[in-house]
Amino acid sequence: MPPSSTTQSVLAEYELSLAWGAWVELGVSGWQPTHVNWAVDPEPLIIHTAYLADADPRLRDEALDWCIQYWRYVSKVRLRNLLQGRSAEVLDAWGPFGATVNKHSGSHWPLGTESFPYRLTGRSSLDAMAQPSRAWLRLRAMFGLGARTEILRYFLSDHPRATVATIAQHVGYAKRSVADECDSLEKAGVLKVQHTANRFYYTLAHGDEFRAWVGGIAPVQPNWTALLAVTSTFVALEESAKSLSRDALSVEAHRAARLLDGALDTLGIEQRPRLAGGKDHWPVVRDFAKRHMAAWAAGKWGTTALPQT
């Protein structure tokens, strides 16, 4: 349900709507599907859901139910890599979540601490993977968990060609693993390599045929790590707005907008908050965040989906 505009934590509610929408696509029991056009990437979503646990315990419980039932489709290597260098708050939230999944399943997810009392809800269902929003899970069912599958996901996500370093940066696996798997995929004829200016660029060898064989892929394919970094930064700012002075909030809003530059680039979002030196920056940043997050919460993507100010 879209939050009312008078709510103090409107961005936090948009973020929860986005998370719910994504989980429903993966098979979590929830409300009406809103993100059928989004290809959902599980690991960033799982880590972020652990972080959102206090804001929505029901989301945490339903996500735990899914994780405990379908942990075989989740990469612990990727979880570990994505958790590396995350803030103490994220790791503190992750520890009990990961430990609870481990306690109730055969998983060995990394960095778990103390589990908490939990009873399966049994409401999650991943009976099929034909839905376009489950394309990335389907790839795992086809090719197994690992860097190889994530490399294929990268190329199926409208990335025409890339170096090993670029792929590694996007997929959450070590550069060495990505290099080895790219080499194998090239030998198998799935990828082809081009040598340009001292660099090796990989690309899909038979892209159209491969896409047809893999099946439908939802058209909205955001980089979920970048997407959730953007939403959590805006939500944290909104939370800070309740206690910070206007002067401090203005500086922190400006800083956040600068820090998110790379993530917004990764998401292909060219627009930026229009910040002018010396002005009160928070209203500008908040408006930018509201417009984008309202669209994302409703399962809409792209500049045409943005609500008018």
């Binding site: 800070s240 002067d247 922190e252």
Partner: protein, 194 residues
């Protein structure tokens, strides 16, 4: 350039940001910005000169601006459209040969949330300005000479300040130029007086 209003806004923002991040900081400042904060001059200034860190009632040389403070200052600069270096420890070497005797008792403290700005007193600023004026002597339109004039120092004050500058540079060349600068203010200093 920082006007009095800009400087106040920047410090207010810096203090608020530090408080929001749970950081306390104390800095000892000198230079044109200090004169501006004390209302002794009106000209805008390029930066805020930090020479010392104030902690537990003591001052130590600002070898570097502490990282959390430097980060916050950079964020304030970006948000307000100031130079990245608006708060710097450029003249911290003044600490090396000692500050004027009793300077601690003349410091004025301004509080900006969790930021304490310790502003050197008028006499101490006069000492530093005289030293800088001699150092830059011969450069037309030296801002330090102009600032000295704004301070409207008395002859005894200039003599005392001149003696302090000699502790920082005892060379003959410096003394000759010091005498010339004092003469501009109508003070006929003798070798013995310095």
């Amino acid at each position: 350039m920082l006007t009095s209003d800009h400087l106040d806004e920047a410090l207010r923002s810096l203090g608020a940001v530090l408080e929001g991040r749970g950081i306390s900081s104390g800095i000892l400042v000198v230079g044109g910005s200090s004169l501006l904060l004390l209302g002794l001059i009106k000209r805008p200034t390029a930066d805020l000169d930090v020479i010392g860190i104030a902690s537990d009632g003591r001052y130590s040389k600002a070898e570097k601006i502490p990282e959390p403070l430097a980060n916050a200052a950079r964020d304030v600069a970006a948000a307000l459209g100031l130079r990245d270096t608006w708060l710097n420890n450029g003249p911290a070497s003044l600490f090396d040969f000692g500050l004027p005797e009793g300077f601690e008792s003349r410091v004025q403290i301004r509080l900006y949330d969790t930021l304490e700005v310790h502003i050197a007193g008028r006499f101490d600023l006069l000492c530093f300005k005289l030293y800088a004026a001699v150092d830059h002597f011969g450069i037309r339109e030296s801002k330090h000479l102009a600032d000295l004039r704004e301070l409207n120092p008395t002859e005894p004050e200039l003599i005392r300040a001149a003696r302090w500058t000699r502790t920082h540079d005892p060379s003959e060349g410096f003394k000759e130029e010091l005498i010339e600068v004092l003469a501009i203010f109508g003070v006929a200093a003798t070798d013995a007086a310095l």
